[in-house]
Symmetry: C2
Subunit: 612 residues, 2 copies
């Protein structure tokens, strides 16, 4: 039942040899790597609007200069990442570049920041995508959490199945988005020339707060989310057709230009036409409605926004498990994150991301605006460390013109580092403090995990073992019995097949019960000694452990004591609820009860299968 | 840590020999057995009031005749139970009487009805007790669920500790209740004579429904809860000082008179003075407030009401586990319900009752009125069956005057049986349907459980075994290894100490990894064969089970295959989250994977303890 349900949802297991990579041409590569970057404008615009509207029309007039500043930052970062593609043609994720050039701890900081970045990309994209659709159909607005979770479930299943043939499918939303948004912006520009400017003073709500420098920095910090996703191409250079490095750089250039156009175009039009959004609508929806009315074209725009955001969330499901797998491979995370699942994907990483995203969506009430303060700081921290790493990289290499390359990355690093500071300070109370606390905690966790695995590796190493291993002497075997029945027969018979020194033990809970057992037992096994242990406190585990401790101390001969447990396996699952879990309790006590541990003991389970 | 917390809350274990019973004189016995019965008036009055008030003042005038009818029923039932004490001096709970005289299935119906009765006594008493206090302090009214749960937690802990020395403590609320309520009713009677009757027509809210026969029967059915608890003395005859039977009957007489006085007195005064309660107050609180004002005497009345209700809930915690233990002793419930816990109480029964009560309180929003429809039907069904059983008992005995005794019990049985019908029909839609569904389901469950245990007993019986048991031949041993390390050393060395035929198995997840392992392994154990199993679908369990199936089929010699598993036990609990649970998965598959099961296999755990 459960297996077939799993097969239905996820598909049957795939053999390892099917693991292979297909190279992408530039058109496909743009679709594969840009959804996160391009869709960022959906929430970045919204954040700038929400950050400024509280200062009324005076605030909203600043959207344009803030937008231009962010586009300037975009240009710097794109140029800088173009250098990374050059320097790391085999793929230069922040974690790889920072670790190789700055050391383990900065690398781990970049890794933690990246993981948070991907997690929030998933959460913010899903909630912003649902907000785009709920702007068109206000009846959906109260159900945004449920809708976002359904979308999350679908994306999780798609990713657990593995993405072999869905590459083309994913390209459709990206080009749909470009081919609806860019014409809309062009049409808007024409309309702007024909209609002339709107009046923000007339449309904006009254100012709730004065226009302070802090408020402006706050809006800038929020708008920085427009840049998230720009690093994707530099991680995936080997997926391009040769010449990989050059194709990747050209694709990055195209993507950055598109990002800039979309961002500047939409923010400029919004301000020029004095578009203001109501409480249950996004600013991009308000702009589209202003230009296109409520008709089918408007709905197409909103649908394509939602689709590209869903695809952007989907890219997190490819990237996050890849980073956790890299960390697990180096021992900073447990190895199941590195193991390929049935469908040749890192299934455990996908599940971790899905659960964490779901928790974020629920805790933050499906509101992208509440999630954004946690977001930008992770992305920009990863940018900063990766570009600082590139500076060291060029300095170490000292190839021709190294100082120019180092300078470009240095400028990028300083610019994004400044942004990190602005975001951290201005968004601290809004939620950035969570990210600022979580990143160091993750780094400490990574280091502790690796320390543990190293310690285990040393303890398990065979170094120092004598070259000739002596076999253990045959074990002393103890068989705890609950009575004389078929389970006892199996256990005693088995014990006698592996050792001579077999002792049966009966824990006497009711005074006097042992005598009856002793007679029965002697009839069947006159030559096996039976020890009856009184248990005044009615515990089974305690007296047994005491007995084992005592006999181990008496012998102390290097023999391992083995405990043979007859275990009944009922025919139906509910029946096991009816039996007391004594065998399980004894096993757990023998394995885990460290306080009692002094001698190593072997546990032998002799199953007895019940019919019906 | 966890052990010491448990010791702090529950106390250290007690040895079995401390199990002994102290006899009770009549004063103490009344306190021990009557809280449930006496406190019933708190919710029975309330139910009659709520049942009638919807028909306005015309409805409320019927409270007095309904009250008198219920007192008549009380007299019949008390007389009938007095016969039970006579016939079963060793304790005649409904389950015992019904099973002995009517057969197993009626006995189980009575047992199920009793369990539901006790469960609802606990839930209704706690919620009604909290309602009494929240009537005095309206600020507590919205927090009734939480308060009831806290009270439940305290009572559960007290009972898990065992009640040795709390008998005297429990007597205080009972006598406090009697010595505050009876004087209040006497004072009320004087005031009634002096002040003359009040006008219900003036005080009652307008009728929301017409006064129908159904509505009257409905109110009567709800008022029947006044009788719950009356059977308690007949269950506990052996606890009385000798002559047990006579003392018990006298105590029952006193209790029944007190119940009648309290019930008739309070319901009569309420009607004569035309007291009506508001939405956040109980009718008894309204009566007390009317007579005593809002001063300390009123508060004392409410506090004593809450205390006796808490003590009544507490009696369920003595009775419910006793019935589950009796059922478990006869194989109708799993044996852990029959085992005495650390403190010589049936701890598992207490925990089951506490959890079920908590669920009821939460699901029904801490509202006694919503719970009562589930309540009376269980109690009256148990009454009916127990008294019908007594009729058969007297008929079988045919002692002197047996027909009179049989007639008394017969009348009781018919009267309570009629009440069951009235309750079942009139309260069906309010919630009685739940009880009507649950009781047969429980009976079916009891029978299925006993059938399972009987089946297991037969399967485990040694009957038919040959008198001389041949030992098994030494086992074939298979050691799955994940590499060549200290865990492997322990496992292989141990395997060779118990058998000659040892085979190591390596499951190759990454193609080619096996070759390295083979060389390492051959260096250490040149004489142990190593089988490398490819696993194209990256499953560890599947290829191992296939291998075991294949070799078992090849040999098919009666040898048991044993699987030796090296198991790492980390030093700290969180570290075990970091290791993949392969050993656990293999064990579970070997024990439970029935589809693959064909041959019995032994599982041998060789623990390897990690330091730090």
């Amino acid at each position: 039942m459960s297996t077939s349900l799993k097969d239905l949802l996820i598909g049957p297991p795939l053999p390892t040899h099917q693991l292979a990579e297909k190279r992408l041409n530039k058109i496909r590569a743009l679709a594969a790597f840009s959804p996160d970057a391009l869709s960022s404008i959906a929430y970045a615009n919204e954040e700038i609007f929400l950050g400024l509207v509280i200062a009324g029309s005076a605030g909203l007039t600043l959207a344009w200069p803030i937008g231009l500043t962010i586009v300037g930052l975009l240009a710097i970062v794109a140029l800088s990442y173009s250098q990374t593609i050059h320097g790391y043609p085999s793929g230069g994720g922040s974690w790889i570049v920072a670790r190789a050039n700055l050391g383990t701890v900065p690398g781990l900081v970049a890794g933690a920041a990246l993981l948070i970045d991907y997690l929030l990309t998933a959460a913010v994209s899903l909630t912003a995508g649902v907000a785009a659709i709920a702007s068109a159909f206000p009846v959906l607005w109260p159900h945004r959490v449920e809708l976002a979770l359904v979308l999350l479930g679908v994306i999780t299943l798609i990713n657990l199945r593995g993405l072999k043939e869905t590459g083309t499918l994913m390209a459709i939303p990206v080009y749909l988005f470009l081919f609806t948004y860019l014409p809309m912006l062009a049409y808007g520009a024409v309309r702007a020339v024909l209609d002339g400017p709107g009046s923000l003073a007339a449309n904006a709500p009254p100012a709730a707060q004065p226009l302070t420098t802090f408020l402006v920095l706050h809006a800038f910090a929020a708008g920085c989310t427009a840049l998230t996703g720009i690093e994707a191409i530099s991680n995936g250079v080997p997926a391009f057709q040769p010449p990989e490095s050059r194709n990747a750089r050209r694709t990055l250039l195209v993507m950055a230009v598109l990002m800039g156009l979309l961002f500047v175009g939409s923010i400029g039009l919004t301000q020029y036409l004095a578009v203001v959004a109501g409480p249950q609508e996004t600013i991009l929806s308000a702009l589209a409605r202003r230009l296109l009315g409520n008709g089918p074209v408007y709905l197409l725009i909103q649908a394509s926004t939602m689709l590209i955001l869903a695809v952007a969330a989907n890219t997190s499901f490819a990237d996050f498990p890849r980073v956790t797998a890299l960390l697990a491979k180096d021992g900073f995370l447990p190895s199941p994150l590195f193991n390929l699942g049935d469908r040749l994907v890192f299934a455990n990483g996908i599940i971790v991301l899905a659960v964490a995203t779901g928790v974020l969506i629920v805790v933050f009430g499906g509101d992208a605006h509440a999630l954004v303060p946690l977001f930008a700081i992770g992305a920009f921290l990863a940018f900063t460390l990766s570009q600082a790493g590139m500076v060291v990289h060029w300095w170490r290499e000292r190839g021709s013109g190294w100082w120019l390359k180092a300078a470009i990355n240095g400028i990028g690093s300083v610019a994004t580092g400044t942004a990190v500071l602005i975001i951290g300070v201005s968004k601290f109370a809004d939620g950035a403090w969570i990210t600022i606390l979580v990143i160091p905690a993750m780094v400490v966790g990574f280091l502790k995990i690796r320390a543990h695995f190293r310690e285990v590796g040393q303890q398990l190493s065979l170094r120092g073992l004598p070259p000739n291993l002596k076999p253990f002497p045959p074990p002393r075997v103890v068989v705890p019995i609950s009575g004389v029945h078929r389970g006892t027969v199996d256990a005693i018979t088995y014990a006698r097949s592996i050792a001579r020194g077999v002792t049966a033990v009966y824990i006497e809970l009711e005074p006097g019960a042992g005598q009856r057992i002793r007679q029965d037992f002697a009839n069947w096994w006159p030559d096996v000694p039976l020890v009856i242990l009184p248990s005044p406190y009615r515990s089974i585990v305690g007296p047994l452990l005491d007995f084992l401790d005592k006999t181990d101390r008496q012998h102390n001969d290097g023999q391992l004591a083995a405990v043979v447990l007859p275990e009944f396996i009922p025919a139906k699952w509910w029946q096991s609820l009816l039996h007391n879990q004594t065998a399980w309790l004894i096993k757990a006590a023998l394995l885990y009860n460290r306080r009692r541990f002094g001698f190593q003991r072997v546990i032998i389970d002799v199953p007895h299968y019940l019919r019906r």
